[in-house]
Symmetry: C2
DNA sequence: CATAGCATTTGAACATCGTTCAAGTGCTGG
DNA sequence: CCAGCACTTGAACGATGTTCAAATGCTATG
């Protein structure tokens, strides 16, 4: 190991820092090289390509989530912990959402992301339900919710950072909404409330939504029932 | 209007075709120009920039969703219709997710997307609840779920298109999951089921999940109750 | 201790892509 | 018929991901 040699870990740490600070479009190989005090192209020897670099950085971020201990027979605490962990990670590293977007939850290339969580969920269990469907539903929806909530948080942060211009934009959008809503009398007071800034914090929204989703999943999946689940019509 | 002149609509249609066929990274100005039978740079006069082009294409896709008729007093059919519409649109145009990812649900720049749906939801109403929080929750979670489910569908389509190699990748990932799960005895049979291909269709999963989410939201938001909603602990 | 070999870095160079710009082209209204 | 404007064109620039041959310097072997 020569003296001034890059290491994969070093590169990944710098990449994550850059991604956290500048976002996905702020990461380019030359900037990364400069931050590392070496030529841009030196990075290639260690990570192969930018795509792979981002994938590895994504691994690092994902591994920040500490997977919950699973108590047999109860799935809700584990599901809550996992969703909360994902939510927190996505708030800390919004670029993960941007980079993996579609494939974060279900992508085959990065499927091992999923496998560990899937294992947790499977172990947490929805006893008596068809496992694949239950797992898919939990996975898609509980984690999808974390995703949506963290997106909301990211937008709010962006609003805060970009300051007035963005806020004005939002006001304008709200005004349009009010105009559109003129045909709906009951809607007005609600929009007035909403337009006086976001009232609920993203965390509140996240927790409320997660609780609601878990309520619903418990009702649908908790009991032993046929997989077509014809309990309540849509 | 000269004879062989581009129109904004024409450009947007071509862009959407290209995006549908090749994905977000398949769209570049020169390819678009070629498809239109004109120079790449001619497009700029009509749409200004690529970012704006994608935004406009996104508008087009979004407008494919026919917003539900709202029957006062019942919100569930409207919520279902909107989520289903969004789900369908995202399945037809997966690039929308890729392009707008974070900001699809809540972004201020494209907030007018949201406003129309928000109006529907607000009108659909969760009588007695704090409107902003309810609206935020519904918006984030119901639509977030559509997002998650359509992502799953997109991955499945990609698996189908890329054929064996991707399928092998998935098998491998599943094998890893099984190995990881060796410590969890109850998990094995479920993974076996899951690894024999995706058992449930994305549509089934989407419908099941949506129903569950709406169940949960109904329980949390339907009744007049304090907004801290201390009904069921997480 | 010297030297061969390998790991690692470097800078130049290329292709692609978004974008700009000055110069054209052709319709349209006076 | 002509001036002006809407629109198009091709060349060119800067940024970026990536490749490659050459250089550098450590390490292990004779």
């Amino acid at each position: 190991m020569p003296r001034d040699t890059l290491s994969r870990d070093q590169i990944l740490r710098a990449a994550v820092e850059l991604l956290d600070a500048e976002g996905l479009e702020g990461l380019n190989m030359r900037a990364l090289g400069q931050r590392l005090g070496s030529a841009a192209t030196a990075v290639y020897w260690h990570v192969g390509s930018k795509d792979n670099l981002v994938a590895l950085a994504g691994d690092l971020a994902w591994n920040e989530i500490d997977l919950p201990e699973v108590t047999p027979g109860t799935w809700r605490p584990a599901a809550t912990a996992l969703a909360t962990g994902l939510y927190g990670m996505l708030c800390r590293h919004p670029w993960v959402l941007q980079a993996f977007g579609t494939f974060l939850l279900v992508g085959p290339g990065k499927a091992r992301y999923d496998d560990r969580s899937l294992a947790v969920y499977e172990e947490a269990g929805f006893p008596g339900t068809q496992a694949d469907q239950a797992a898919a539903a939990v996975f898609t929806f509980v984690l999808g919710n974390a995703l949506g909530a963290s997106a909301a948080a990211a937008v709010r942060r962006r609003l805060a950072r970009e300051g007035e211009s963005a806020e004005a934009q939002l006001k304008e959008a709200m005004a349009k909404a009010v105009e559109y809503a003129s045909a709906y009398p009951r809607l007005r007071p609600r929009l007035d409330t909403a337009s006086s800034g976001y009232a609920a914090s993203p965390e509140q929204t996240f927790e409320l939504g997660l609780a609601a989703v878990l309520d619903g999943l418990a009702g649908r999946l908790g009991a032993d029932q046929p997989s077509n689940g014809s309990r309540t019509p849509l």
